[in-house]
Subunit: 287 residues, 2 copies
């Protein structure tokens, strides 16, 4: 174990404590302990903040949970790094017990790339085992028809993720939307606002334009609205978060705003906290 991980575990793991969980449940109905705070005038259930699991790519599942708790975030799109696609039901159940004990609502799996039918088979079987009703994924074009069949077969939504100018399949949200708009309504978009911005997209417009198929969001900031833009703490880059949040409130977005922090990935906790704080502050203030 690196000294950094050791530090984080020593520093943060005390918070997690031990919670007895008598019953195993794979339901997705957990509601974190939120109360509408009448004093400060905001409703924390407006645009709840979550995490894309890739944020914690350098940390194990237990440490990731502790890091999420530290910043009071209760939603997670779990990444295969923390819960491998070939996990047994027992392994999955044990992980879900941990999440539930920590007050974390796992609401999706992904991002899962599906280059083949077999990969799509695995992804949907995995999502079912995890108990999810949504996969964030990136199916190759020639797998789209098959993935649509799987969506119908499993009644599991597929939110397709855009990955910026370098992505041969889905650079921006329009590249997703044009390929799915006439497909089953359970196929939609996970707009990665950082990659979309690098692809030249104004994300405050994109969420409105594709609102009928907007299922999920990866929230981050980038230094430039072009290919070479780098990850940076939310609020320090070029994305207009007040405009984005205003658009999300206007369209009545019901999904999670999942922070995906990709700077300082070996030591991300401070940048994660600033990013979570900034986004929550914008959500609180923007009406």
């Amino acid at each position: 174990m690196s000294s950094r991980k050791s530090f984080i575990q020593k520093t943060f793991l005390g918070i997690a404590g031990t919670v007895a969980v008598p019953l195993l449940s794979r339901s997705n109905s957990f509601q974190p302990n939120k109360k509408e705070n009448e004093n400060n005038g905001t409703n924390p259930s407006d645009l709840p903040v979550g995490f894309a699991g890739y944020t914690f790519a350098k940390f194990d599942l237990d440490t990731s949970i502790t890091m999420m708790k530290k910043v009071d975030v209760h939603y997670l799109s779990v990444k295969d790094i923390h819960l491998p696609l070939n996990s047994s039901q027992e392994t999955i159940d044990a992980a879900m017990v941990k999440f539930k004990a920590a007050g974390i609502n796992v609401y999706a799996v992904g991002v899962i790339y599906m280059k083949t039918k077999e990969a799509a088979d695995q992804a949907f079987a995995y999502a079912k085992k995890v108990g999810m009703n949504m996969i964030v994924g990136a199916p190759s074009y020639d797998v789209l028809d098959y993935a649509e069949k799987k969506v119908k077969e499993y009644n599991i939504k597929l939110a397709i993720h855009n990955h910026g100018p370098e992505d041969a399949l889905y650079p921006g949200p329009k590249d997703v939307y044009d390929r799915i708009k006439n497909r089953d309504a359970r196929i939609g978009l996970c707009i990665d606002i950082g990659h979309a911005t690098r692809a030249g997209v104004k994300v405050e417009d994109a969420v409105k334009e594709y609102k009928d198929r907007l299922f999920d969001l990866h929230i981050k900031d980038v230094t430039l609205a072009e290919k070479d833009g780098k990850a940076i703490e939310v609020g320090r880059g070029v994305i207009n978060f007040p405009a984005l949040v205003s658009s999300l409130k206007k369209i009545g977005y019901k999904g999670i705003s999942s922070i995906e922090f990709e700077k300082d990935m070996e030591d991300p906790m401070v940048g994660i906290a600033e990013s979570v704080g900034y986004y929550k502050g914008v959500v609180a203030a923007e009406r």
Copy 2:
């Protein structure tokens, strides 16, 4: 050195680097490297965020600077913990060179308690040596006349700080205002919004009511609007930050909003970052 400090120094000190500073300057005119970001529509010079030095009470000056840089904050009300009141001019100059090299604008000293005339003498002489035009202080009632003389003699402002229900002198901002409103216009308030909230004050109203004498702010959040309220990350407590920031924009507040984070003081970096992010997010979104 504790292992925590050692960790923070090892982790963060690389950021500070070494900056050659050929000339010593004690002017207070440093402007951090801010540019109006046309892409994201916000002007970062609106309500600039700073720190009250007490936030870093458990860390030395060099570590404090590194922690400030980590969250991209460039204003500091320096506390005597980091620059003792009896410092020589040489010690003060050396500290100010460090701050300047790090892009940090020291805009005030304090909080300095002044129970005697001698303490007031020391405070104003110190502020002059540091090159400040403002002291954040808490003079005892019987020192107020003398402190006012010192304000005139030095042409240095005095922002009196409220310290909550336990404070025999200044529980809330009204306790300050009533005692200074007919004094020299260079005597005003540093409203500590956490302590004011614990004293039952609605801070979004207080900043309007005392706007003619509002010189400084200590920004924090508290769990309850009563004496037993505890420090918590900005945005998680009972203070209505959108309303506060709206009031500050309405009155055209020209001062600094200095975060004073008093939770987890042995290990505050993550909470500091969340607090800074939240406040900046509210400032960006609130119009």
